[in-house]
C-alpha cells in the first residue's frame, strides 16, 4: 500500500520537488542580488544598468537548457561519456594558453573568448572531475583498499587537473578542486591512512606554490592583516567588512546599500555577498545560508538513500561543489579565509559559473528522477 501511495505522490520521470524549489529560490535570490549590486557600476562604466543582468540571464537561460538535457540523461549515458568530458575540459583548459583564444585578465589566464562570451574552463573541469570520480569509485567500490588499482589512477587524474588549474594562476580554484576530489575520496571509502600520507606530501608542495607567485603572498598577508595594505589587496577585505558592519540585523533594504556605489571594487563579482549582506542584513544572510545548507542536505540525503552507489557519489560530489563553494565564498567575504577568486554560485556575475551551476543542478535533479523512476 505504501509503495502505491508513493507512486501517486511522485509520478515517474519527475524530479525531487523540494530540491527543484530550492534551486529556483537560490537562482531568484541570486538574480535579484546581482541586479542590485551591479546596476550602479554598470551604469557608471558602461552606461547600461542592465549589462550584467542581461548577460547573466542569457547564460543562465542557456545553462538551464543544458541543465534540462543533463536532467534527462541516463546514468549509463553519463558514465559512458564521462572520460570524453574529462578529456574535453582538459583540452579547453590547455586552449587558454593559446594567445588567440584567451586573454590575461588581472594577471591570470583563465578565460576563453568565443562569440563575444568568455568561458572559464576550470568551472567545467570541476563537473568533469566529479563525474569521473563517481564513476571510478562506483566501479571499484569493492577494491577501495587496493592503492595501486583504485586510489592511484584517480589520484593521478586529480593531480593533473589541479596542476593545470594551478598553471592558469588560479590557486584558489585548484585548492577547491583538490578539496572536492579529496572529499569524494573520503566518502567513497578510501582508507584513512592514505589521507595521512597525502597530507604529508601536500603541505610542502602547496607552500612552494604559495610562495612562487607574489600575489598569493600579498593576499595571504592581506588576510592576516588587511590594514597593512589598505589601498591594495587588503582594500576589498576592509571594504567588504565595512559593508557588512553597515548591514546590521535587518539590512539597509534591497537596493539601498551604499558600498556598491564605488566603495567596493568589482562588487558584482566575487564580493557580491558583501553588498547583498549590507542590503538584506543578518536576517537575510541567515536565510541564504539556510537555503544553501538545505539544498546541499536535500541533494546528499536523496543520494544517500537512493541505494545506487554511483548516484550517491555523484550527488554528493555535485552538492559539495555548490555548497562548499558557497561556504568558501562567504568565508572569504567575511574575512575568515584569504581573498580568493571563488564566485558565489547563483549570485556572482559570471556566465561560466552560472552555466556550470545549472548543469550541476540538472544532473542532481536527474539522480532524483532516476530514484523516483526506480520506485515505480
Amino acid at each position: 500500500m505504501r509503495g502505491r501511495f508513493e507512486l501517486e505522490r511522485v509520478p515517474g520521470g519527475q524530479s525531487d520537488f523540494i530540491l527543484l524549489m530550492l534551486v529556483v529560490l537560490l537562482a531568484g535570490c541570486g538574480i535579484a542580488a546581482l541586479f542590485s549590486a551591479s546596476y550602479y557600476y554598470a551604469e557608471k562604466y558602461f552606461s547600461d544598468s542592465f549589462l550584467f543582468i542581461r548577460k547573466q540571464l542569457i547564460l543562465g537561460g542557456v545553462g538551464a537548457v543544458f541543465g534540462f538535457i543533463a536532467f534527462k540523461l541516463s546514468s549509463e549515458f553519463l558514465r559512458r561519456w564521462t572520460p570524453a568530458l574529462l578529456l574535453g575540459s582538459l583540452v579547453l583548459m590547455l586552449l587558454t594558453f593559446l594567445p588567440g583564444l584567451s586573454e590575461e585578465i588581472l594577471g591570470a589566464r583563465r578565460w576563453i573568448f568565443l562569440f563575444g562570451f568568455s568561458f572559464q574552463p576550470s568551472e567545467l573541469v570541476k563537473l568533469a572531475i566529479v563525474l569521473y570520480l563517481a564513476n571510478i569509485f562506483e566501479k571499484k567500490q569493492d577494491r577501495m583498499h587496493d592503492f595501486l588499482n583504485t586510489v592511484l589512477p584517480s589520484l593521478i587524474v586529480l593531480t593533473v587537473v589541479v596542476g593545470l588549474v594551478l598553471l592558469q594562476n588560479d590557486f584558489s580554484s585548484a585548492i577547491f578542486i583538490l578539496i572536492i576530489g579529496l572529499s569524494m575520496f573520503f566518502m567513497a571509502g578510501v582508507p584513512l591512512l592514505y589521507f595521512v600520507y597525502l597530507l604529508l606530501a601536500a603541505v610542502p608542495t602547496s607552500l612552494i606554490f604559495l610562495f612562487t607567485k607574489p600575489h598569493r603572498v600579498e593576499r595571504l598577508i592581506a588576510f592576516i592583516s588587511p590594514e597593512a595594505d589598505p589601498v591594495g589587496s587588503g582594500y576589498q577585505v576592509i571594504a567588504a567588512q565595512s559593508a557588512l558592519k553597515n548591514g546590521g540585523f535587518i539590512g539597509q533594504g534591497l537596493g539601498h546599500g551604499i558600498k556598491k556605489l564605488g566603495g567596493l571594487p568589482e562588487v558584482h563579482s566575487d564580493f557580491i555577498f558583501a553588498s547583498t549582506a549590507e542590503e538584506v542584513g543578518f536576517m537575510g544572510v541567515f536565510c541564504i545560508i539556510l537555503l544553501f545548507l538545505g539544498f546541499g542536505a536535500r541533494a546528499i540525503l536523496r543520494g544517500y538513500r537512493s541505494g545506487s552507489h554511483y548516484d550517491f557519489l555523484l550527488s554528493f560530489g555535485l552538492a559539495v561543489c555548490i555548497l562548499y563553494q558557497a561556504l568558501f565564498n562567504m568565508a572569504v567575504v567575511s574575512g575568515l579565509v584569504p581573498a580568493t577568486g571563488i564566485p558565489l554560485p547563483f549570485f556572482s556575475s559570471g556566465g561560466s559559473s552560472l552555466f556550470v551551476t545549472f548543469l550541476m543542478c540538472g544532473l542532481l535533479l536527474g539522480t532524483t528522477r532516476r530514484q523516483n523512476e526506480e520506485r515505480i
Binding site: Q241, K245, F282, L327, A331
Partner: protein, 621 residues
C-alpha cells in the same frame, strides 16, 4: 556490510563537519553584522563639499568654486595600452614612460591626472566619443577659481589640490569657507560666503598704480593701503610684486609675499605725525611751542648728530610736520619721558599685530624703553629705530579721523550662510582712546600744511579738497654692514582727507626705489594723488568745487494735450507720436503713420482745409 557502516560513519562525520563550518560562518556574519554593527558615516563616503565664495564688499566674486574633471582609470578595462598611453600623454601633457609604468605595474583603479582644464576635458570627451580610451573615465572634482586673477591675490591666498586653503584668507578662514564633513550627516555641504571690506574697483586702481610705480621707480616693492577713515574697513591693500592665485605654484616666494602685512620697515618721517601728536597729548609741547631747527640737533649725550636737509629756523609743531624737520622732532621729544612716549606708541598699536585674519602678519618692532639708547627717543620720534608694517601705519592713522580713538581694522565685512542668512556682520570697533579730540584735530590741521605750497606733500594737492598728509623718506639698514645704506630707501606718503571730515586714509610705501628720486614727497605723493583722483568721485566725497544744483525738489511734467484738429491742418512738425494718437478719433481723417519718434514730415501741408475722407501721411523720425 562493514563497508556500508564505514560509509555511514563517514557520512555522519562529513555532515557534522559541514554543519560546524556553516555555524562558524553564520557566527562570523552575526558577529560582524549585528555585534559590530557600525553604520557607515557619510564622512567615509565621498561627501561633496562646495567651498564658499569670497566676494568684495559689493558682492563681486573674488574666489569661487568650480567643477573640473579629474581623469581616473579602471586598468582591467583598458583595451589598448599603447594607444591609451599615447593619447593620454599628448592630450594631458604627461610623460608616456611613467604613465605606461603606472598602468602596467598597478592593478585596479588609479588617478591619471587631477583637475584638468576644460580644454583637456573636451579633448578627452571627444576621444571617448570616438570609442577610444576604454577604461579611462572623467570624474568631476571641485576646484578653486579666482576670476579676477591677480586682484587682491595676497589677501585671498590660494587653495591646494584637496581644496584646503594654503595661504591668505583661504587659509585663515578655511573652516568658515569649507565646513567639516565629519560634523555633519549631510551628503552635500556648502561653505559660507565671505564678504570682504575690499572694494574691487579701488583695489584695482591701487594695484595698477603700485605696479606702474614699481616699474617707473625701479623699486623692489610697492605697497598701498586704502582704508575707510570712519570705520577702519580695508578698502584696498596692494602689494607688488604679486601673483595669480590660479597658478600660484608658478610664482616665487617673493611674489607671494604679502608685504603690506608681512614686511616690517622703518617708516621714517610719516612717524612724526604720531610722535608729535603724542608729545602734544602728553603735554610736553603745545601747538604754539617753538623749536629752533638750525640744521642739526645738538645734544651732548649723543655723539652722532641728527640733521635736516635744510635750515628751517624757528618751527612750531605744525612747521615740523610741514617741512618734516628731524631736528625739530628730536627737540620736541625731549619734553616727554621715554616710558610715556613708549606707552603712547603701544596704544597706537605699534609693536603688535592688527589681528586681521591674514597669515604672516608682522607685529613690527618696538623695543621696550629699558633697551633704548640715549639716541632712541629722538630717533623714534622721526621714524627710525622702530619697525612697522604698512597696515599698522594706516590703522594707527584712524586715531586722527575718529577724534583720537583708535579703531580695529577689518578685512572681513560680513559672513553669510550658503542660503544668505547673516552669520556675522562686522561693524565699527573701537580699540581705545589714544588722543583727545583736540589733539587729533590739531594734528589733521598741521598735516594739512604739508599739502600747502612749499610743503613736502604739495604734489597731492587737489582742487577743492582739503588733504592732511605726511611724506617720509627713510634710510634702510644694510643687513651686511649694520649701518644705514646710502642706496636703499623707503619712500612713503600718507593722506587723510577731507581734513574737515576725514573719509579716507591712503598710505603708499615704495621700497628701495632706484629711479630718478627716492624722496617720498617726490615719488610717493603723486601715487596718492592718482588714488585721490580715482576714489574721490567714485566714493562721492564732496569737493568744494563740486557744482551744486539748486532745485526745489519738485519736478513738474506738463500734461500731454490731446491734439484736436479744427477747420485746417496744424503744423505737426516736432510733435511726438503719442500726442498725435488722438487724430484717430477724428472720423473725418484717414491717418497714415510711418517711422517712430517725432514728426519730420507731413502731407498735406499745414493749413490744408479739413474735409471728410482727408488722408494724411505723417513721417516720424
Amino acid at each position: 556490510m562493514g563497508m556500508e557502516k564505514n560509509i555511514r560513519y563517514r557520512f555522519i562525520f562529513f555532515s557534522v563537519l559541514t554543519l560546524a563550518i556553516a555555524i562558524i560562518i553564520t557566527w562570523r556574519y552575526f558577529s560582524l553584522m549585528v555585534l559590530q554593527n557600525t553604520p557607515i558615516s557619510h564622512a567615509d563616503e565621498a561627501v561633496v563639499v562646495e567651498r564658499g565664495p569670497i566676494l568684495d564688499r559689493n558682492g563681486r566674486i573674488l574666489a569661487i568654486q568650480n567643477q573640473l574633471d579629474s581623469v581616473e582609470t579602471w586598468i582591467p578595462y583598458i583595451e589598448n595600452f599603447d594607444e591609451t598611453v599615447e593619447l593620454l600623454s599628448t592630450t594631458l601633457n604627461l610623460d608616456p614612460e611613467t604613465l605606461m609604468n603606472d598602468l602596467t605595474s598597478r592593478r585596479g583603479s588609479m588617478w591619471i591626472k587631477r583637475k584638468i582644464t576644460p580644454t583637456e576635458s573636451a579633448a578627452l570627451n571627444k576621444l571617448k566619443s570616438e570609442g577610444k580610451l576604454a577604461g579611462i573615465y572623467l570624474r568631476k572634482e571641485y576646484g578653486r577659481n579666482y576670476p579676477k586673477q591677480r586682484l587682491a591675490s595676497h589677501l585671498l591666498g590660494y587653495t591646494g589640490t584637496d581644496n584646503i586653503g594654503l595661504d591668505g584668507l583661504e587659509y585663515t578662514m578655511n573652516d568658515i569657507l569649507s565646513p567639516d564633513p565629519a560634523l555633519s550627516d549631510q551628503n552635500e555641504l556648502y561653505g559660507n560666503q565671505l564678504f570682504l571690506t575690499i572694494d574691487s574697483n579701488i583695489e584695482f586702481f591701487a594695484e595698477k598704480f603700485a605696479a606702474e610705480a614699481l616699474t617707473e621707480h625701479k623699486a623692489e616693492s610697492v605697497m598701498i593701503v586704502v582704508m575707510d577713515a570712519k570705520n577702519a574697513d580695508l578698502l584696498a591693500c596692494a602689494s607688488v610684486p604679486d601673483f595669480d592665485p590660479n597658478t600660484f605654484y608658478n610664482f616665487s616666494e617673493e611674489q607671494r609675499n604679502n608685504r603690506a602685512f608681512a614686511m616690517a620697515y622703518e617708516p621714517g618721517s610719516v612717524m612724526k605725525v604720531f610722535s608729535i601728536a603724542a608729545f602734544i597729548e602728553l603735554g610736553g609741547i603745545g601747538v604754539n611751542s617753538h623749536f629752533y631747527a638750525g640744521g642739526t640737533y645738538e645734544n651732548e649725550d649723543i655723539p652722532e648728530t641728527i640733521g635736516d636737509l635744510g635750515i628751517y629756523g624757528d618751527l612750531t609743531p605744525a612747521g615740523i610736520i610741514k617741512y618734516s624737520s628731524n631736528v625739530g622732532a628730536a627737540y620736541a621729544s625731549e619734553t616727554v619721558s621715554r616710558d610715556d612716549f613708549y606707552q603712547m606708541l603701544r596704544a597706537l598699536g605699534f609693536g603688535s599685530q592688527t589681528q586681521m585674519p591674514v597669515p604672516g602678519e608682522s607685529s613690527g618692532l618696538l623695543r621696550s624703553p629699558d633697551e633704548w639708547s640715549v639716541r632712541s627717543k629722538p630717533t623714534i620720534a622721526f621714524g627710525q629705530e622702530i619697525l612697522v608694517s604698512a597696515v599698522q601705519m594706516a590703522t594707527a592713522a584712524t586715531v586722527f579721523s575718529n577724534d583720537g580713538v583708535l579703531l580695529r581694522p577689518h578685512i572681513i565685512d560680513r559672513i553669510l550662510s550658503p542660503d544668505g542668512q547673516t552669520i556675522e556682520n562686522v561693524g565699527r570697533e573701537q580699540v581705545q582712546r589714544v588722543f583727545s579730540p583736540q589733539t587729533a584735530r590739531a594734528m589733521l590741521l598741521m598735516m594739512e600744511t604739508a599739502t600747502e605750497e612749499g610743503g613736502t606733500a604739495h604734489r597731492m594737492r587737489t582742487e577743492g579738497l582739503r588733504i592732511s598728509a605726511k611724506t617720509g623718506t627713510s634710510q634702510v639698514i644694510d643687513p651686511e654692514t649694520g649701518t644705514y645704506s646710502t642706496e636703499n630707501f623707503i619712500a612713503s606718503a600718507m593722506a587723510i582727507f577731507p581734513t574737515d571730515d576725514p573719509q579716507l586714509i591712503i598710505y603708499v610705501v615704495i621700497q628701495n626705489p632706484k629711479g630718478d628720486s627716492y624722496y617720498g614727497g617726490r615719488i610717493a605723493s603723486p601715487i596718492v594723488k592718482k588714488l585721490i583722483d580715482e576714489t574721490v568721485p567714485y566714493l562721492g566725497i564732496r569737493r568744494s568745487t563740486d557744482k551744486v544744483l539748486e532745485h526745489s525738489g519738485k519736478i513738474s511734467v506738463p500734461k500731454e494735450l490731446n491734439l484736436t484738429v479744427g477747420e485746417t491742418l496744424p503744423d505737426f512738425t516736432g510733435m511726438p507720436k503719442r500726442r498725435l494718437l488722438n487724430l484717430f478719433n477724428d472720423d473725418r481723417l484717414i491717418i497714415n503713420f510711418s517711422g517712430d519718434g517725432w514728426v519730420v514730415n507731413q502731407s498735406p501741408p499745414p493749413g490744408t482745409a479739413v474735409k471728410d475722407g482727408l488722408e494724411i501721411f505723417i513721417e516720424f523720425k
